[in-house]
Subunit: 132 residues, 2 copies
């Protein structure tokens, strides 16, 4: 799937996420966009819904936040399962992919005849700098 032209709101939300150091909550995004006319959470959530669908933004379930995909210009959906390491001190997020992990998980679900739709892998802890 190729990413269609973003609408105004979608672009605004995406730009905020791209310029951010780390993941942002929907309400933080809202606050950052008040000067651009944003007034209600739904404006953010609707934009995020599309950006997630296009694969250019990821949702971090364990911290209720959103982050721009680390592969600019690329369809992230094609990379298989996305995994994240989230530093609980500085908030930085590292995104990575491991086909062997994907393979093992998909083997397991196949054995259970489970039909996967969306998989979340999130490792919370301390990054090198913060652990020191």
């Amino acid at each position: 799937m190729t990413t269609p032209q973003l609408t105004k709101n979608q672009s605004l939300v995406f730009d905020v996420l791209e310029k951010a150091e780390g993941p942002l909550s929907a309400y933080t995004i809202l606050d950052k966009l008040r000067d651009h006319g944003f007034r209600a959470p739904l404006q953010v959530y609707r934009a995020l819904e599309k950006l997630l669908e296009y694969g250019v933004v990821h949702r971090l379930e364990s911290i209720n936040s959103f982050v721009a995909c680390a592969h600019p210009g690329d369809d992230c959906h094609s990379h298989g399962i996305v995994a994240f390491a989230i530093c609980e001190s500085c908030g930085q997020v590292m995104e990575f992919h491991d086909h062997e992990v994907d393979h093992r998980l998909m083997e397991w679900v196949r054995g259970q005849k489970f039909k996967p739709e969306k998989t979340t892998i999130e490792i919370r802890g301390l990054c090198e700098a913060c652990a020191a």
Copy 2:
């Protein structure tokens, strides 16, 4: 770590989770315990906090819910990373462990000098029965 004697509230919350068919939200638990004197969310959250610490209950981050550990009487913390398959239709949860997945993830974090604290693996989709 061995599980200490549960307090009254902890037991009530744990019993509700154990008897449930699937995961429950904190507020659902609260409702089920109103007859037992529960009045406020904190009573549930405080009990859950301890039960999570003891490893007898798991939190499902992607659906803001809680489920009793599938290994009764056993310390689940010793099983390595816990993974879940969650049916989005019937709500049933399958818990499993895969040491190879653990290994790959831990290899990756080691390479990044990232210090993991808590890892979440959740696969949402359709169970065999619901996919049919």
